[in-house]
């Protein structure tokens, strides 16, 4: 859509991607699951064109046909890994329901302003053919699509990977072996190093009902990263992160396909783990960011930040992270990945009470999911994590719903500032307060594209 000069979808390089036209609309997941409102989750289309009279408004809502999916993360059918294939187009969003296990294929090309359901991959078919449940991360991989699943059909760890073709037929399991892996969650691959890395949340039966701190001590939550031989489709090395890496969630490689550097946010330890391949060819790791727990008058122990997401700008210069319970978003310059420099910080919501109201809207929750524009200048941030966890930590979200804010990012000197002209209040939705989660742009975004 954005780039049809040469070949397939996406961009020739990360640098080319940063030159793409500015995003005009966003697709954001909004959920009613767990809120008490008996309505299906939906995909909201948000107008972000500053020239449009509807700027900062939801202009379309695509309801799923069922109630209770808990839409969570999503991905594109094609990305820059298909750049050399003129037959491929970035025209479908793949949205799994993490609770229901249904996978919705959404046509965003026919009319980008009012996407429609193209196909549903039924939970029963997935369970029957692959014995998987609890879908999470979706990555395009040239002619195929891989989706990580956190559990088997009964919700027990470690789950595995579903392989789809580009017609969205189930081809089976992607991996040849899960090796000794205990848990699954996020993954990213870097083809020039023949490597994939995967992280660990917990079994669906453990995290779906909510978070019990004691279960971390009983090893029901992850603390490892796994290096895979990407071609052989099997794990070859485990990095035991221990107390520094409790609940390692989002994991990203640099966008530069020649770089072996990558990062992971350990949610409960609230640390950033940096990993890379050494000159000797071994995979190494170190902790590069450690967010201190913060005291709170009503809490017996200081509050951990809970870093549920990280994101790397398309030029690999900045790393963004959230502290969902504290309420801040941070920007770090990672030009030297061993020594990140804090360059920006803003507050929105959170339990520390630093910014209970943003642009006139009461925020229940804290910064949680975020998506960065390809040029790195606009960061869109939402507030809901996962319905049961929201209900535990931010019970007011039931009444107030979620919100999306936009942060202007200084890509030259560093720095972040909340844009005062933009806020989407999901608390005022026609069917009642909903909660917003992950965001994607039609032209590709900073968490979708991989270069071969």
């Amino acid at each position: 859509m954005m780039n049809n000069l040469c070949c397939g979808p996406g961009y020739a390089s990360p640098y080319e991607a940063t030159k793409a036209p500015r995003e005009k609309i966003l697709y954001t997941i909004a959920i009613y699951t767990g809120t008490g409102i008996q309505k299906p989750d939906y995909l909201a289309t948000i107008d972000v064109d500053p020239e449009s009279p509807n700027f900062s408004k939801i202009i379309h809502r695509l309801e799923m046909p069922r109630i209770g999916d808990e839409l969570h993360h999503m991905g594109w059918n094609a990305c820059s890994s298909c750049y050399n294939d003129p037959n491929m187009k970035r025209s479908f969003l793949i949205i799994p329901g993490v609770r229901s296990n249904n996978i919705y294929i959404i046509d965003t090309a026919t009319n980008p302003f009012s996407p429609s359901i193209y196909k549903i991959i039924e939970s029963s078919e997935i369970k029957l053919k692959t014995n998987l449940s609890g879908p999470h991360t979706v990555h395009c991989l040239e002619s195929k699509i891989i989706i990580s699943f956190l559990g088997d059909a009964k919700g027990n760890a470690p789950g595995g990977y579903l392989l789809l073709n580009k017609e969205f037929d189930i081809l089976g399991r992607w991996e040849n072996s899960m090796g000794e892996i205990s848990f699954s969650y996020d993954f990213w691959y870097q083809p020039r190093y023949n490597v994939m890395i995967s992280s660990e949340w917990a079994a669906p039966n453990t995290f779906m009902p909510g978070f019990d701190l004691e279960e971390v001590g009983h090893l029901k939550y992850g603390r490892r990263l796994h290096i895979w031989d990407f071609k052989k489709r099997e794990p070859i090395q485990t990095m035991y992160l221990g107390e520094d890496g409790l609940i390692p969630l989002e994991v990203k490689f640099s966008h530069n396909p020649n770089s072996s550097h990558g990062f992971c946010g350990a949610a409960l330890s609230t640390n950033v783990i940096h990993f890379w391949r050494s000159e000797e060819g071994n995979w190494e790791w170190e902790k590069i960011i450690d967010i201190d727990n913060e005291p709170h008058p009503d809490w017996p122990i200081p509050i951990p930040g809970v870093m549920s997401a990280i994101l790397i700008s398309m030029d690999d210069k900045y790393l963004y992270l959230n502290n969902w319970l504290h309420g801040d978003m941070r920007q770090y310059d990672i030009s030297n990945p061993h020594k990140p420099k804090l360059t920006g910080q803003i507050w929105m919501g959170g339990l520390l009470g630093r910014a209970p109201v943003v642009n006139g809207v009461k925020i229940a929750g804290g910064p949680q999911m975020f998506q960065l524009s390809l040029d790195g200048k606009r960061l869109y941030v939402t507030t809901s994590l996962f319905s049961t966890w929201d209900n535990q930590f931010y019970p007011k979200m039931k009444k107030l719903g979620g919100a999306m804010i936009m942060i202007d990012c200084d890509t030259i000197n560093g720095g972040m500032q909340i844009n005062e002209n933009f806020i989407v209040n999901f608390g005022k939705e026609p069917n009642g307060p909903s909660r917003c989660h992950e965001t994607r742009y039609p032209g590709g975004d900073c968490t979708s594209d991989i270069w071969l």
Partner: protein, 123 residues
Amino acid sequence: MAVKKIIIANRNNISFKVLGKKPLLEELYSQGLDIPFGCKYGGCITCAAKLLKGKVDQSSQVALNNRQIKNGYVLLCVAQAITDCIFEVGVESHDKLYRNPFLDKLEPHELKADIVNKNIDEI
């Protein structure tokens, strides 16, 4: 097999008749009760309801911890009625289902059954 009467206290005491052979969610949903559900295998607590009176068999559930069970929560997608029952359903019944895990810790016996049983085995 005797028919059981199921009353939903927070839906104007509407009552249903079930055979107790299938999970309550399936029986009640097919008779028109609109309640949230997700996984349908007792793993996600979306369908949790509060049992005010009566007895159920929910032995195949794997998601509730012992505190939640003690507070009367039942996962309707796997629970079968053993006697007549009175329930509160939906998110309105979830006041004691969620707690802040840092402010209010679980005692060892209040954890999920698989952990408690494993600990007992180890002792």
